[in-house]
Symmetry: D2
Subunit: 284 residues, 4 copies
């Protein structure tokens, strides 16, 4: 079913829900989901509405303008209008570890992710056979300090050529430059293998072991220029005990990582995420 999705932000005020729902109703919109949230600290109102497009009284290309003039202007709204089609294009960046890649490909295979994966990019060749088994082009672009900017340029060209909408770093062990990130604002999802903000940076399982924590975790977040400090989309944890070695932590943690990353992808695909400052609203 083709749907339209509206995400709104404005100062909290009386009548917003009434105005938006009237706009949809008067144009014969069949609402599938409507969620709202008031951030009391900011005093801002947020809303997400999704409705059937086929029976809607306003043509797809006119909605932006008409909603703008009939509703948004009055409340000084920021809003984004989007659609659940065409299928978005997701690029995967991987290094050597396969657990997140397999988890994503498994969901892609079974139809749980409604997405196209036009390419996988890696700084190592190891996972090429896995990716090819799924019929997905694999690009091996080794990365070195000295040539990083050229390699990122090559990556960006590939993403552009393939019309990629968003990028998933499925345990890609490289730090992206600010320039690279600027091409995909809030459209690069990373999985970090700790419950952020604990254990930012490299080797978080080693750090967790050393600190003697009883719980380890994983965090999916949008990538910003600040390392591991972007808006958190999803987190989860697993319990560990003193007798677990660092290798145990790695294995236990991988089960958390892959599920957390895939949940974040699912929210992103469903267009249920609104980034506000450095936080996320997950409409669900």
């Amino acid at each position: 079913m083709h749907t339209a999705i509206l995400i709104i932000q404005c100062r909290d005020n009386k009548g917003i829900v009434a105005a938006v729902s009237r706009f949809l109703y008067e144009n014969n919109g069949n609402i599938l989901a409507i969620d709202q949230y008031v951030d009391e600290e900011m005093g801002d109102f947020f809303m997400r509405a999704e409705w059937e497009l086929e029976t809607f009284g306003i043509g797809k290309d006119q909605i932006q303008e008409q909603f703008g003039s009939q509703v948004a202007k009055q409340f000084d709204m920021n809003f984004t209008l989007s659609f659940n089609f065409p299928k978005p294009k997701m690029a995967l960046f991987v290094s050597k570890l396969s657990h997140c890649l397999f988890d994503i490909l498994s969901r892609y295979y079974s139809g749980q992710f409604v997405v196209d994966i036009p390419l996988v990019i890696s700084n190592h060749a190891d996972l090429e056979p896995v990716v090819k088994a799924f019929g997905i082009p694999f690009h091996h672009i080794p990365v070195s300090k000295d040539t990083k900017s050229e390699q990122e340029a090559e990556q960006l060209d590939l993403l552009k050529e393939n019309g990629v909408d968003f990028v998933v770093l499925a345990r890609y062990m490289q730090i992206l430059s600010g320039n690279f990130i600027s091409h995909f604002p809030n459209r690069i999802i990373n999985i970090h293998h700790s419950f952020l903000p604990a254990f930012v940076g490299a080797k978080p399982y080693h750090a967790a072991y050393k600190r003697g924590v009883k719980i380890i975790g994983a965090t999916a977040h949008y990538v910003t220029e600040d390392l591991d400090a972007g808006p958190i989309i999803e987190q989860d944890v697993a319990r560990v005990r003193h007798h677990n070695t660092i290798d145990d932590l790695v294995q236990i943690g991988q089960d958390v990582e892959k599920v957390v990353l895939s949940k974040a992808i699912k929210y992103h695909l469903a267009q249920k995420i609104k980034v506000v400052g450095n936080r996320t609203i997950i409409f669900s």
Copy 2:
């Protein structure tokens, strides 16, 4: 802040959100929360709205009628209108175990539960000192098979005299009669010490041990005539291992029970629960 709360059920249809939100807006209602849910299996629409009463344009006593004629009639709605005042009156029924009682009284003491507790009823005298330390009247009503109906009559009298709105069975180890229950439909909350529907009835920790489960749990539900089969409000679990004895399960489980029961009470107090058939919608 005084608020009004509307919970609506009707056939799913276009324009419901628009009609309800217009009604609130046109009467100057400041919406504090609005949640909706469509049960696709039933084809029914559910909504909960809460708004400030003081600035509302319709008097407290007129809202029922005006909403009925202006909105509900058109959509053939079932709706309940209620208010977050006066403070509801909660009766506690206990036997000998104190963990749920303490947890509830602790929240009552700290102001986390906005409620009055006019009395505690027990079939044993053991917990009388605890209850009295909180300045709450304690009624010891021993229960025996032969005299159960008289004792329930005595309990019902006490509840009536004290204007009790709802009853919490905080590990009260007696089964209430259908007659008793009929006086408090969806207003008696029980905590059962298993993750229902597993281990209905007596001694669920023994049954869990015998079955060799790796997880135990607790379930808060509204009491109906079918034992441990009423609408579930909240559940949670804890992990156990082979070396845990039945006594261990009891101790581990008690921590789950008390938190689950108190969450259910919190939802009930906030009027966030809608019972639909044998399921609950928790607006939150």
Copy 3:
């Protein structure tokens, strides 16, 4: 590293740990893990010891006899001696759902499971390409009521030819006969998509939805003739809310299923499971 693993059961008594550890010490055994557990209800003592084989003073083929005469006899022990080599052979049975299969193959690929997978058997052809991509033979054996015994005979022949040690039912939607099961006592692992003993049998997610539970789960267990009633190896759960449809429950549940099943396989491969009656001891 080659290791020997001893699992012991006997009446609880003084001196058992001393006798076993002396036996290992006097024969120059380097103990890697030693765990013991007393079942107070039964009065039985259980122990698992694992030690390095290479430096051990008794030849691999003599340990059974010498431990038997020097230690086990005195305490009237039941014991099993096994080794962590050669690599065990695991057969997978699947139907159409791929999530558990992918999870297992992903761990196999990355070396997390030290196991051989000589074949996959399915009653449907759907997953053949996936399995073949991993270079594993796939046998499509459609199952019908009338011919079930012949088909099981064919399956058993394949398992025998391939020297299969244990079988994993990775969402294999068929019930195995008592005869089949008798060939692999405590060596067939099934994943059931509910937190047993709740929702035994077919369509547990539908049943969970209907009952209105707030938590769903999955259970890995050894298969016995009683449907979904064999010894539980591992369980886990996930939280659901009223707005989750049955399809949501299926998706949320699949993430639990695959992790629970893989944990059970890991325990089985590490020879850390002792079945006692209908319960399991997980030495870990």
Copy 4:
């Protein structure tokens, strides 16, 4: 039942379990629990053994010496010998928040904690009635920057007079000096309201809200001079969503705090904790 408890640390070596268990067996010790753990990074062996004292062949006062000369010397062991009697004396330090206090007192009341509580110390008078209702002396010692050392001296005098074995900071909102801590090494348990090492210091729920985490937590740890950096005993977490306010986080978090703190107390009372560097081994 009176028991003796031995906790051992030494270089890992062959024959340790055999030597310890032979010592216990030859002296007619009925072992109730024996747990061992090898820290592969350090190369150290750890063991905890608990056995019945009454039937043991060596007098309570001779065990230390005889185990030292017969076993410990040979392996160059560090060991501590202790007993599960007399009942330990626990002091509680509180400020204004009552949830942890109630949880502890509730377990004390029901006999879940086998402990004496000779006194509660607070820098505020608020909780005096609660404490007195349990018949426990309450000492109100206001703390100010300028007079902190005198007040700590007063606190230490009270702890000494009352023969206090260990101190629990049940949301005591003051930082103890290094001098104070030095009197109770690894015998002061604090509950910090975050999943450490995230959100060290004041106002962790505010910091968690600001960072936009999807999970909050609590950590029980032994107090050292480094703020919130001592050995972690127990941690747990709870899931939060974008619509939860800071007040919500506080309420949700309190349920985690109280259970985590009480679990840590339980481990401490059972003498199941061994601190190694800045980590804890929890024998269980």
